[in-house]
């Protein structure tokens, strides 16, 4: 039996739904789009590049010069998945976005929604369980100790998806029904 290493990534639909649920029964608008963007960013920046490079290395034999067995590099790439990194990423994106995109909510608000969404992502992730030593660097740069609550497996959030989806529909039933009836 041949076994290969794969990186792990949390379920993004649960993360997206958590952002929608935080907003209660409000219709989707730009605030939700920024919030969902914030929720997606940590995995998109910290996990997806590793998965992509690893896939290219093992499937196509490309980019083998990049030493993904170097745990220092992997941990360094996880910085956007820490609260401090999330605040910096949210600030950076809000700063470099063209004024046309940030005019309506304002740059501070965009940074706040992206950062808030990212922190919400971390709140959901912290509930996961991994084999030790595992967890999230919640207090970096003050500490490199890792924490997690261990309530469910890292892929177990998928099992809660139907419940979350039903909850969202119930909360948003009022405007969903009006849209449906035209």
């Amino acid at each position: 039996m041949m076994i290969r290493i794969r990186a792990s990534m949390a379920d993004l639909l649960t993360h997206g739904l958590s952002a929608a649920l935080v907003r209660g029964g409000k219709r989707p608008d730009s605030t939700l789009l920024w919030l969902v963007s914030g929720v997606i960013l940590p995995d998109l920046l910290a996990r997806a590049p590793l998965l992509l490079v690893h896939g290219l290395q093992h499937r196509l034999g490309w980019m083998e010069w990049l030493a993904l067995d170097d745990d220092r590099l992997i941990t360094a790439m996880g910085f956007p998945h820490t609260p401090a990194g999330m605040v910096l990423v949210a600030t950076l994106i809000a700063l470099v976005l063209p004024a046309s995109l940030t005019r309506s909510p304002g740059r501070w608000r965009v940074a706040g929604l992206l950062g808030g969404g990212s922190l919400l992502h971390l709140l959901v992730d912290v509930m996961q369980r991994h084999l030790e030593p595992a967890g999230y660097y919640l207090l970096y740069p003050f500490s490199v100790e890792r924490w997690e609550l261990g309530w469910f497996r890292s892929d177990g959030s998928l099992l809660a998806l139907p419940l979350l989806a039903v909850l969202w529909v119930v909360l948003n039933w009022s405007w969903l029904r009006r849209v449906r009836s035209g």
Binding site: M1, D11, K26, F79, E132, G156
Partner: protein, 166 residues
């Protein structure tokens, strides 16, 4: 200085303050990442790093091998594992309370290195929904990109819900 942000961003652009801040934040991100990588692994040695020093220093040491994926059936009770670095090791033993990983199942193991590229498994956890997790992730990113593109082209549709205003 909130006035420099939001509606009066032109002023920030004029002085280049926004871009200066962006460069500063980017530098902090790079430095933070480097520092996290250095500090989080100060003293913690991975199996790959240990094997690079040779077989003997790794004997009986405890390691965590995460994100492994089985691609076949067990042969003679031992499982062959290829680490990202290309190093091949064998997993020996399997915890009684953990189901055997079927083909394609992602799992993680903790155990001791026995030498000669053999690894005694002490604890393991399976992630049978990992594949679906990935598919869902790609779908969500795709939908999100479409939503961002539509919002960018058409502008935001933030018409208030009529019911909220009576």
């Amino acid at each position: 200085m909130p006035a420099v942000w939001g509606h009066r961003a032109v002023m920030t652009d004029r002085w280049g303050l926004r871009w200066a801040l962006a460069v500063l934040v980017l530098a902090l991100l790079i430095l933070g990442g480097r520092d996290l990588g250095r500090r989080a692994h100060g003293g913690e040695v991975t199996l790959n790093e240990c094997l690079a020093e040779g077989d003997v220093p790794c004997l009986e040491r405890r390691f965590n091998l995460g994100g492994l994926r089985s691609e076949g059936l067990p042969v003679d009770g031992a499982r062959s594992v290829v680490l990202v670095s290309g190093v091949e090791i064998e997993l020996h033993g399997w915890p009684d309370d953990v189901p055997e990983p079927g083909s394609g199942v992602v799992f993680a193991v903790i155990g001791r290195y026995l030498g000669n590229h053999r690894f005694a498994v002490q604890d393991a956890e399976l992630y049978p929904l990992h594949g679906m997790d990935m598919v869902v992730g790609v779908l969500v990113v795709g939908i999100w990109l479409v939503a961002v593109l539509v919002a960018t082209r058409r502008g935001y549709d933030d018409d208030p819900d009529p019911s909220e205003h009576g």
